[in-house]
C-alpha cells in the first residue's frame, strides 16, 4: 500500500532515517566551499574544516599536513558513519547497504591484483584500497597466479563469489584479462543488485532502477570508449554490457559496433534522445543522461 508506509516504516527505519537526515545537514555548503577556495595553505584548509563536521577527524593530525592525509581522514568520516548505519540496520536494509560495498570490493581486488602484477608491495597497495571494500583475506590476493587460484584461494569466501561464475579461466592474469575480469564482475554485481532492488518494490525499486540503469549505461559507454583500438572483439565487448538499463538491448548493438569516439558519441546521443522522448523516462533519468553527454562532448573537442 503505497500510502500507508508511514504507519510501519519507523519500526525498522525511523532511527536510521533520522540519522541520515542529520548527516545531510552536515554536508559542506556553498559558503564552506567558498571559504576553502580562499585558502592559501593546507593548514588554512584544516582550520576551515575544523568548523565543519570534519573537524574532529582532522584536529589530531600534526602539521605539516599532507593532501592524502586530509582525503584519508575525510573518507574515514564517511566510512565510520556508513559502518554505524550498517550495524544499526535490519534486513533488508542491511543487505542493501552491503551491496553498496561490493562495488568497492571489486575495485580493491582489481587494484591489488594489478599492483601485484606490476611488482608493488602488498602493504602499499592495501593502504590505497577503499576502506568500505575491505574484507579479511584481502592480503592473500597477492599470491594468486591466475583467476582459478584467485577464486579458489581467496574469493570463494567473500560475497563476490557468485559473481565469478562467468570469469573463471585458467589464463594467467595480465592487464587485459584483469580489466575484462573487473568488468565481468561489475556486470554480474550490477545485475544482482538490480534484481535485489526489484524485490521490495515501491520507492526502492523505482529509484534504484533509475540509478542502476544509469550506472550500467555509463559503464557500457566507458567500456566502448576504452576498448576502441584494443584487441577486444565486438562479441567480447558485447558480453561486458549489463542486461538492463535504457541502452539495452538496441543501444548495446550499436555501441558494440562502434569503432571510434565520434561514432560512439553519435550513437549515444541518438539513443539518449530516443530514451528521453519515451514516456517511461523519468526526469531524474533524463537529467542524469545530460551530464555524461557534456563529458563526452568535452572528450570529443
Amino acid at each position: 500500500m503505497y500510502g500507508f508506509e508511514a504507519l510501519t516504516f519507523n519500526i525498522h527505519g525511523g532511527y536510521l532515517e533520522a540519522i541520515v537526515r542529520g548527516h545531510r545537514s552536515g554536508l559542506l555548503t556553498a559558503a564552506d566551499y567558498n571559504n576553502l577556495c580562499q585558502c592559501e595553505t593546507l593548514d588554512d584548509i584544516k582550520m576551515h574544516l575544523s568548523a565543519t563536521e570534519y573537524g574532529p577527524y582532522l584536529q589530531n593530525e600534526p602539521s605539516p599536513l599532507h593532501t592524502t592525509t586530509i582525503v584519508e581522514k575525510c573518507t574515514l568520516k564517511l566510512v565510520d558513519e556508513y559502518k554505524h548505519m550498517l550495524c544499526q540496520a535490519t534486513e533488508p536494509l542491511s543487505t542493501f547497504l552491503e551491496y553498496i560495498t561490493y562495488g568497492h570490493m571489486i575495485d580493491n581486488v582489481v587494484l591489488i591484483v594489478t599492483g601485484t602484477l606490476h611488482e608493488r608491495d602488498v602493504q602499499e597497495l592495501l593502504e590505497k584500497c577503499h576502506p568500505l571494500g575491505m574484507f579479511d583475506s584481502i592480503a592473500t590476493l597477492a599470491v594468486a597466479q591466475n583467476m582459478h587460484e584467485l577464486y579458489r584461494l581467496v574469493l570463494v569466501d567473500t560475497p563476490l563469489a557468485p559473481y565469478f561464475s562467468e570469469c573463471i579461466t585458467s589464463e594467467d592474469l595480465d592487464d587485459m584479462n584483469i580489466e575484462i575480469m573487473r568488468n565481468t564482475l561489475y556486470k554480474a554485481y550490477l545485475e544482482d543488485f538490480y534484481k535485489f532492488c526489484q524485490k521490495p518494490g515501491g520507492a526502492t525499486a523505482e529509484i534504484m532502477s533509475d540509478l542502476l540503469a544509469f550506472e550500467a549505461d555509463r559503464r557500457a559507454v566507458n567500456i566502448t570508449i576504452n576498448s576502441i583500438g584494443t584487441e577486444l572483439t565486438r562479441d567480447d565487448r558485447r558480453k561486458l554490457y549489463s542486461n538492463f538499463g535504457l541502452l539495452y538491448p538496441y543501444g548495446h548493438e550499436e555501441l558494440a559496433a562502434c569503432e571510434d569516439i565520434d561514432q560512439c558519441v553519435c550513437h549515444y546521443l541518438f539513443q539518449a534522445k530516443e530514451i528521453c522522448r519515451s514516456p517511461s523516462a523519468s526526469p531524474s533519468v533524463i537529467g542524469s543522461y545530460a551530464i555524461p553527454w557534456e563529458m563526452l562532448m568535452s572528450w570529443h573537442s
Partner: protein, 176 residues
C-alpha cells in the same frame, strides 16, 4: 417476533452486558493501541534526529504528550462507561430498553476507541516529521505544532460523541 431471521434472533439473545463490556474494553484497549503506535513513531525519529541536533529533545516531547493524551481520553471514557453499567432483574435483561442501553455503551466504546486510534497515529506521524524538520530548521517547529493540534482534535471529537452516546444508556428501572 414472528418472521425475523434466525441471525437477528441470535443477535438479540446475546446479553446486553456482553456488548457493553466489549465496548468498554475497546474504548480503552484500542485507544492505548493508537497512543502507543503514535509514541513509537515519534520516539524513533526524535531519538535519531537528536543525535546531530540535541536542542530539539525538550521541545519535541510535546508530540509525545499529545499522543499520551489520546490514551488518557480512552481511560476517562472507559471509566465513565463502566459507571453506566447497572444490574437489571432477570426478566428485564432482554427487554428493548436493556438492549438499547447495551448497544449504546458498545457504540460509545467503538467510537472512542477507533477515533483515538487514528488520532494517535496521526499525531505520531506528524510528531516524527516535526522532530525531523526541527532538527534542520528550528523555525518550523511552531508551524508543524499547529498541524499536530488539529490532529489531536480528532480524538476529542470521538470523546465528545462517545459521551453523548453513552448518556442515553438508561437501563430499565427495577420493577418491584
Amino acid at each position: 417476533m414472528a418472521g425475523s431471521s434466525s441471525w437477528s434472533r441470535a443477535l438479540m439473545q446475546i446479553s446486553p452486558y456482553t456488548f457493553a463490556s466489549i465496548g468498554i474494553a475497546i474504548s480503552i484497549g484500542v485507544s492505548v493501541l493508537g497512543a502507543a503506535w503514535g509514541i513509537y513513531i515519534t520516539g524513533s525519529s526524535l531519538i535519531g534526529a537528536a543525535i546531530k541536533a540535541p536542542r530539539i529533545t525538550s521541545k519535541n516531547l510535546i508530540s509525545v504528550i499529545f499522543c499520551e493524551a489520546v490514551a488518557i481520553y480512552g481511560v476517562i471514557v472507559a471509566i465513565i462507561l463502566q459507571t453506566k453499567l447497572e444490574s437489571v432483574p432477570d426478566s428485564q435483561i432482554y427487554a428493548p430498553e436493556s438492549l438499547r442501553a447495551g448497544y449504546a455503551i458498545f457504540a460509545s466504546g467503538i467510537i472512542v476507541g477507533f477515533a483515538n486510534l487514528v488520532c494517535g497515529l496521526c499525531v505520531g506521524i506528524i510528531g516524527s516529521s516535526c522532530a525531523l524538520s526541527d532538527a534542520q530548521n528550528s523555525t518550523l517547529f511552531v508551524k508543524i505544532l499547529v498541524i499536530e493540534i488539529f490532529g489531536s482534535a480528532l480524538g476529542l471529537f470521538g470523546v465528545i460523541v462517545g459521551i453523548i452516546m453513552s448518556s442515553q444508556a438508561t437501563w430499565p428501572a427495577k420493577t418491584a
